[in-house]
Symmetry: C2
Subunit: 298 residues, 2 copies
């Protein structure tokens, strides 16, 4: 990974961490427990790749992190909610996430469920509140809220999750694993980067190109996760290697084999970079991020 992109990731991650701390409430009052649970998962680590992509999507059309921080943070809240719900015993039943006990192991299942609900709801609070208080283009913001809600809901992440669970232990055709990955992970990644572009005033055509880029890296991102679950380092990723296989999870390696999965991944990244051809050097960060996505170790 180039020094440049390493510094970029570090710098933007710090911005996001600071903004998240500012936006999140302190635990207090009778419902303090659920606020603690929300904070616990949100600040339990993570690469902050989705909000970083949101910022990079803004920068590609001449915007800056300041234009999109509330939306970038809202996207991370939605990501955090999805992990809490996924880890529940009635879903994936995971005890560890990023090397730490999962939310329900600390707070109990009922509070964990509600912490997820609370984070998802707070995400929309943050986005809509941004439009009420700040000088932001209202129609662009409403488009972004619409886009993110679509990507998070039954047309995106929720749809991907339900298919993921229903095919566990089965042997589906390739179209099913593509559906799962593009919906479960790809949709929110594409929405993240596209939201940045729209909010920073990118044109319709620019937003379309960025969205295509986002879909390609989004799918590549989930294939990279699948591969890390086989070839990764347990301590680096903070959960057991091989857990997907034990559980009969539908993954690209399980359907295509690991060599072909890496070929698909490489083609997706090439296509993603190709999607950016209308952009000048401003999109260099997005090009580097595409390459980073399949090289990362965590």
């Amino acid at each position: 990974m180039s020094k440049r992109i390493e510094n970029y990731l570090e710098d933007r991650k710090t911005l996001i961490e600071e903004a998240l701390k500012k936006f999140m409430p302190e635990p207090s009052g009778l419902a303090g427990d659920v606020i603690s649970a929300m904070n616990y998962s949100l600040f339990a680590g993570g690469k902050r790749i989705r909000p970083i992509l949101c910022i990079a999507g803004a920068e590609a059309v001449g915007g800056s992190a300041d234009d999109v921080l509330p939306v970038a943070c809202a996207i991370e809240l939605i990501h955090s909610y999805s992990l809490i719900h996924d880890d529940l015993p009635i879903m994936d039943n995971d005890d560890l996430r990023r090397g730490k006990p999962t939310n329900h192991k600390i707070f109990g299942e009922a509070v964990a469920l509600l912490a997820g609900d609370g984070l998802l709801t707070l995400a929309f609070n943050l986005m809509a509140g941004y439009g009420v208080d700040e000088k932001v283009e209202k129609t662009a913001l409403l488009r972004v809220i619409d886009l993110i809600a679509s990507a998070a809901g039954y047309k995106g992440m929720v749809g991907g999750q339900v298919v993921d669970i229903s095919y566990e232990g089965k042997n589906p055709e390739p179209a099913v694993v593509e559906y799962i990955h593009t919906h479960k992970t790809g949709a929110m990644i594409a929405a993240s980067v596209t939201a940045g572009t729209i909010l920073a005033g990118g044109s319709e055509e620019e937003a379309k190109s960025i969205n295509r880029y986002g879909q390609q890296i989004g799918l590549a991102f989930q294939i990279a996760d699948d591969i890390l679950n086989i070839e990764g380092d347990r301590r680096a990723i903070g959960k057991e290697i091989g857990s997907d296989k034990v559980r009969g999870k539908i993954t690209y390696p399980s359907v295509f084999g690991i060599t072909e999965s890496k070929n698909i991944q490489k083609r997706l990244i090439d296509d993603a970079v190709e999607s950016l051809k209308r952009f000048n050097e401003r999109a260099e960060t997005l090009r580097d991020l595409a390459r980073y996505i399949i090289k990362r170790k965590t």
Copy 2:
């Protein structure tokens, strides 16, 4: 109940049912199961009182149902999501809701969880999409999305739920039951009626009065539910009478006794009507709705 308000409830309910049918997707594709689960609970009956209040809140300042239908429907989606999550075994563990099997009894717990997530997310889709497509005042809409997200989240419904669950079987002071009821139920009811007023162009002062009215009837509504759980008709309400007591739920009757609960309820309705004094005959429906809330049998 007066014939006038009976007709009003029937008429507005029909409007809402039709709009909900129009807004909801048909089950199709790989994720059809979760769409079926979302539709199942949304169309399993219900008084549609929150969206009706949203319409009535608009009418009180000279607006109409047409101005607010997408928001009114979004509110009902949020209500439906909250019931699905509440009924899960890790929460209230209810098998029956309105006389029908609860969502997880039909679709399983994982799909029910995701159906709740899907409805909550779709609600924001519907509201934001309304602003993208239609000629609606964008800042008012963003304020309404903000208000509804606040009322649904940790500052409102989610906060009330977590306290409700954590005090089950305990003997708390009166402030706790007031907190539970105002947050769990009152917040979304107040937001529903206030959203209608804001969206229909009501002034800051009008919205404040309507919000006070909403908080008062919202608390009275939950006390009425508590009383129906003791004195109601099993077939009419579609679940077992006395279930709150069996479960050690914190209710107004359990804390204040049934006579004092009825007195509190009556005072709340008087105060709610008083909150409307700045309004002319346009708010007559809201006055009738306040009285209906404590007279209803279901």
